[in-house]
């Protein structure tokens, strides 16, 4: 892309083309950066602005990308958070549900997958390669293919509407990512450390708990954050399983269901969007380095 855009006319040979391209790049680079930044950020800015504007002000001037200080209103947030009985949208309940599901997924998936990742990285056992291939395949599976039987199954046993069913599905979905990320990290820890501990008389499980786990803590934390984000943001399975029970909706599901209705003003739902997005953004900026490192670990293999 940039090569085509910056290939200047070749009037004189050598130096001049270089100079032209460099001059073009000097202008183009900041322009491109600002443009991309705007593309990435403006929708979120728009979200925040709408959430603080009174509805009639939006109708009068839909183009405003800022809120005059005098106009700022918090009523949207109050109305989205209040219980239904008080004319609100019950988002406090949705937040609690989302938190329960997301935190539960993090804890359960780590409990299950940390030993698994260690085993796949360190221990020679029957079927090891096949099992990691299976987990990787899960990662690329069409969720909709799973949706059909799980929908049928949960309908049959009456687990539709239960957060527990959702939790189990999420753990199975993220187990693959977790094992893959953590395995890569365990691979980078020198075996010699563990061998030394083994010589000192530690059993395999002691070696794991005293040496490998503490060393892998950064990876485990970043993976936990990543899993939290996946579970908090998930939509399809929440839609399939929880839709009939309003009191077990997650924030994502609640927002999507209310967005279709005419009774709830857009500005109120924007406040809901901010509430849905804010935890993720805070989490992301707090842990960006860790997360990005964990995500791209192994990118260099490419």
């Amino acid at each position: 892309m940039s090569s085509a855009a910056t290939r200047g006319p070749e009037r004189r040979r050598g130096l001049s083309r270089d100079a032209v391209e460099n001059a073009l790049l000097r202008v183009a680079r900041p322009v491109v950066i600002v443009l991309l930044l705007l593309i990435a950020v403006v929708p979120f800015w728009y979200m925040v602005v709408l959430s603080f504007r009174p509805l009639d002000a939006v109708a009068r001037d839909p183009g405003a990308l800022w809120v005059p200080l005098a106009d700022i209103t918090w009523s949207t947030y109050l109305s989205v958070l209040r219980p239904v009985a008080e004319g609100g949208q019950d988002f406090l309940v949705f937040i609690r549900n989302s938190l329960v599901v997301a935190l539960g997924t993090v804890v359960l998936s780590l409990l299950v997958a940390v030993p698994g990742a260690y085993a796949v990285s360190r221990l020679e056992f029957f079927g090891r390669r096949r099992i990691s291939a299976l987990f990787l395949a899960v990662y690329f599976f069409p969720a909709i293919l799973l949706a059909v039987p799980l929908f049928v199954f949960f309908t049959r046993i009456g687990l539709r509407g239960s957060l527990v069913g959702l939790l189990i599905v999420y753990v199975a979905q993220v187990a693959a990512v977790t094992i893959y990320m953590l395995r890569n990290y365990f691979d980078t820890i020198p075996v010699s450390l563990e061998e030394a501990a083994a010589l000192d008389g530690c059993s395999r499980l002691q070696v794991m708990r005293r040496i490998a786990l503490p060393l892998a803590m950064p990876a485990i934390v970043s993976n936990g954050l990543f899993v939290f984000m996946i579970a908090w943001n998930e939509f399809l399975f929440a839609l399939l399983f929880l839709i009939e029970r309003r009191d077990s909706w997650t924030v994502s599901l609640g927002l999507s269901q209310l967005a279709g209705s005419i009774e709830v003003p857009t500005t109120v739902l924007m406040a809901g969007s901010v509430i849905l997005t804010l935890p993720i953004v805070i989490l992301f900026f707090a842990s960006e380095r860790l997360l990005v490192g964990g995500l791209t670990a192994g990118a260099e293999k490419g």
Partner: protein
């Protein structure tokens, strides 16, 4: 400049950490203990994955060959009446082939745009400047934000009644009337006397996909760029290579393997995507991808057999395509 390209291609790729090998020989009792511990540690994950992923998938296959509706669900067992009728019906039903085509256009278009923008972003942010860290983090926002919030903001901003895009479009850009970005199947524009018809809603959902996943490409390309040895670039500069030549002959060959991997990953995910289109258009206005169609058959029509059959066709096509790709171009990096 071909010598430059050869030079770049001759540089060995960085070796993956944790390469195994060498420690094979071991006493057998220790090996047996290790094998037992390994199996023990992997079992919980294995059980969950089999129970919630593998068995359901097998069940989908079985359902695809049965006439099952949600209403008579209680009477059907695993050993129902197997029939090819679902598959036949689904393949010949109106709209299925079109939704397959839509799925392909959507995934190819979305993947290409996302990687293109990601590449531009990675190159633009390559040299350090003040505030680069913050800019980089901000650019990842679309990727980490919850999809429901992102689609809601987009559909509000694009709304013909009170959306900011149509407001500024009609005020500043001189649009004759607001554009129904998400509900118009096709629009005709005249450009320099040419009448061009574009599939508006489909282009909009592709743009959304590009916006949402370019950060992913950006992230991985940035990581790869950082591993390109600085000396290569300097040597080329000393030799008088211009920026575009340095990109073409030094950076691009280094980035190509990453771009290839990204293409496969993004294609798979976009192809399987349900959320974005369901939330943006509900599958209307020419944007019905197969995943959304499966969902409609499952919930609105309660036709489980047909839903399973379509999901199966979707998955089989993907599996064939990815296998063919890996056979042709893969084998370079070992996956498992």
């Amino acid at each position: 400049m071909s010598s430059l390209a050869q030079g770049a291609a001759g540089v060995p790729a960085p070796v993956a950490p944790g390469a195994r090998g060498g420690r094979r020989v071991r006493r057998s009792s220790r090996a047996r203990e290790e094998s037992r511990t390994g199996l023990l540690l992997i079992t919980p994950t294995f059980v969950i994955v089999v129970a919630v992923v593998v068995l359901p998938v097998l069940w989908t296959v079985s359902l695809a060959f049965q006439r099952v509706r949600l209403l008579d669900l209680r009477d059907t067992g695993v050993l129902g009446d197997y029939t090819l009728a679902n598959l036949a019906d689904v393949l010949t039903s109106p709209g299925f082939l079109e939704s397959l085509r839509t799925t392909l256009v959507y995934s190819v278009g979305g993947t290409a745009c996302a990687i293109g923008i990601g590449l531009v972003a990675a190159l633009a942010l390559r040299r350090p400047f003040r505030g680069r860290g913050a800019v980089r983090a901000a650019m990842l926002l679309p990727y980490v934000a919850p999809v429901v919030a992102a689609t809601f903001v987009w559909s509000t901003a694009l709304s013909p009644q009170f959306g900011v895009v149509n407001h500024w479009g009609t005020e500043l850009l001189g649009w004759d009337e607001p554009i129904a970005f998400l509900s118009s199947r096709a629009d005709t524009f005249s450009l320099l006397g040419w009448e061009i018809t574009v599939p508006t809603a489909l282009l909009t959902v592709i743009a959304f996909e590009a916006w949402r996943s370019f950060p992913f490409a950006f992230l991985f390309l940035t990581a790869r760029l950082q591993a390109v040895p600085e000396t290569l670039d300097e040597a080329a500069r000393v030799d008088g290579a211009t920026p575009s030549q340095r990109f073409r002959h030094i950076l691009l060959p280094q980035l190509l393997p990453t771009i290839a991997v990204l293409s496969v990953l993004r294609f798979i995910w976009t192809y399987n995507n349900f959320d974005d289109i369901y939330l943006l258009t509900g599958g209307g206005a020419g944007t019905q991808v197969v995943a959304v169609r499966v969902f409609d058959y499952l919930t609105a029509r309660g036709d489980i057999g047909a839903a399973a059959a379509q999901a199966l066709v979707l998955a089989v096509i993907l599996a064939v395509a990815v296998t063919a790709y890996l056979r042709l171009f893969g084998r370079r990096e070992e996956v498992a």
